[in-house]
Symmetry: C2
Subunit: 393 residues, 2 copies
């Protein structure tokens, strides 16, 4: 196991009606003038936003609002949020929504206390040292941003989708009420499930040896998704299944199960160009991306893929043919994704084969990259071209 540090100081309030305590948590964690940041219709229509405002009012907390966050959140709204926070002397950001809203909140939180352009953090030019404190009320189990130090933003100029990270971005508190996710359409639910499973695979694909504890923990969370995914697709109101998925989603990404091991993240990188260009759901893009990436790289460590196949997918180990075992696991994963309603081909995303050179160019050379992706396996532009072509099918 590699040396590591792990720090996850977020206070989690989990369960029914917990969003009504938002005001007292903001107060407890030092907020007095809050920016409520959210997306669009559903948090308004469902009455959630009104309940949150009431909770803040009851706690005597002043607030401003900034809605309009879109999936694959954009830099434009982040700049707007930073200006608003500076002008209004906001001291706490409350994100009400899914990963996009939380990521946008994190970018605003860091940008407000930074003299330069917030994009410096995302292009790797500067490290995040300070940020306004944030709290979250989660409405989608997917990104894990509610417990992570990470944020992903798309720069509109050039449509670069990039991530930034910093322990100061970890939310002070996150309110996780599984009932709030029950109104989510099946497609978004399935995209969230896929995103969670992607976070687990990115950590599973490691070059660090003898990391049994994190291997087992990752497998445990994958097995949970295999068990609960179909239950929640069959019955969107299944609170217990939603609850198991919601905690798994946080655990998949706060890195408690990924410490001390190298990780991959090439599937995420390859997907980011798809959702940046076609504005597809990130989870849907991952459903198309992952099986092809895995089939491209599995020979790098056949035993690891065989382990995943047998332990998570219940594949019978073929002791005479490890490759067959490994590939059967990947096939089962792809069939699972299809079974919960996810796309598995390029065309279903609205992606076009003729765009591949453009995608590869953005992926491998965009925003200062050196032509390669580094992870479980080092991938050149040529490798990435082949992988995108595999997705066309």
């Amino acid at each position: 196991m590699n040396n590591f540090t792990f720090y996850s100081p977020t206070f989690f309030a989990f369960g029914k009606d917990t969003e009504n305590e938002a005001g007292s948590y903001v107060k407890q964690f030092g907020g007095s003038k809050v920016l409520i940041h959210y997306g669009g219709g559903s948090v308004v229509r469902s009455g959630l936003l009104d309940r949150v405002k009431r909770s803040l009012e009851n706690a005597g907390i002043e607030y401003r609002e900034l809605g309009g966050v879109k999936p694959n959140p954009r830099s434009g709204l982040v700049y707007e949020g930073i200006d608003l926070c500076k002008k209004e002397k906001i001291d706490f950001i409350l994100a009400v929504g899914g990963g996009s809203v939380i990521d946008s909140s994190k970018a605003i939180a860091a940008g407000t206390l930074y003299d330069g352009d917030f994009w410096d953090f995302y292009s790797g030019k500067s490290r995040i040292e300070k940020a306004l404190p944030i709290g979250t009320i989660l409405t989608i189990a997917a990104a894990g941003s509610e417990g992570s130090p990470d944020s992903v933003i798309t720069k509109e100029e050039g449509m670069f989708k990039r991530g930034a990270s910093g322990n100061v971005l970890r939310p002070k508190f996150s309110i996780l009420n599984p009932a709030l996710t029950q109104t989510l359409p099946a497609y978004q639910t399935a995209a969230g499930i896929t995103d969670i499973m992607a976070h687990l695979h990115e950590r599973y694909l490691t070059n660090t040896k003898e990391v049994e504890v994190t291997d087992r923990l990752i497998e445990a969370l994958l097995l949970t998704m295999v068990h609960e995914g179909p239950r929640v697709i069959a019955d969107p109101n299944n609170y217990e299944a939603r609850a198991n998925i919601m905690w798994a989603g946080m655990m998949a990404h706060n890195n408690a199960v990924g410490v001390g091991r190298s990780q991959d993240w090439n599937s995420h990188n390859i997907e980011h160009e798809l959702s940046a260009l076609y504005d597809c759901a990130h989870g849907a893009g991952l459903a198309v991306t992952m099986p092809s990436v895995f089939r491209y790289v599995y020979k790098h460590d056949v035993m690891r893929f065989a382990k995943l196949a047998t332990r998570v997918w219940g594949v019978q180990m073929d002791f005479d043919d490890l490759e067959r075992t490994a590939l059967e696991g990947i096939d089962m994963f792809e069939r699972f994704l299809k079974s919960i309603g996810m796309p598995t081909t390029f065309g279903e995303l609205g992606a076009k084969e003729e765009d591949i050179p453009k995608l590869v160019d953005m992926l491998c050379y965009g925003d200062g990259r050196d032509g390669n992706l580094y992870g479980f396996v080092k991938l050149s532009a040529e490798d990435c071209t082949r992988i995108y072509k595999m997705m066309v099918k």
Copy 2:
């Protein structure tokens, strides 16, 4: 899943040589005058204590020392520590040792900022609201106290062993270097493994339905112990096995895998009287206690024990005889404990059958208890008598 809150703000520094950063972590978390609290010979002999002092000196931090913590830590030394902290105006406690040292440090930390008798926290008369900040340098993977809000102390007057809990007791930082555990004798290593597995079983035995995510996470950590336990007993210098066990030990008890579900803790309660009376290793007491408790209560939820047997112990499910499946899992657990060198009978602990009435009296009526234990199954004094008798064999 039940509603819950979860808060684990401890900063973990994990890996080789991390103890040399103790001074800078103490500084980072606000300590300026430290009490170094430790046990006895080994941290002195190994040179660890000197390295820690040097690290504090290099960071310009003043310190006092209080050694002498014994396994099953006693109230006497806690009172001494509280007096010392008050007199010397200590503002940070650094625990260097295993769970006993950390638990003693927590008691001192809470007692120093309390006007009454610190035992009020352990007898349930008062709740812990304030405590000095503490940091830990862990030398035994076992108790999980490095990431938990819990502390267990034995009151010398009456030899009551009782626990107290409070989020303010969670360490500010914990330094986990697996290499520091390599010098631990095999018996203590095995007792630590058993304690970790006990923390997992206490959480596994739940009456909450449909908690797949925490079931799977607990099983993952148990599977890790089944894999790594024998490796570390066979080769005490196996750093990787030690590392996997050390992270599993923390994860087993910071409650990330136990949230939102009822838990048991009857095996711990039943064992506590054994280690209080005979001063045996807590883990060794648990090795004797758990199989008998499980055989006594398994009929309450045969399916849960069958699940544990198949998923963790690889028992073939007997679909015509669930009870046989369940019991085979318990048998395999007991054989595992024996294989790593743990006792499995009353006599091996130095316990005597004729003491059973006294044990039951302390357990069920001592220090204000009402005659019953509450957990997975409610146990009366008669039940506890039967369980202790089962351990005699």
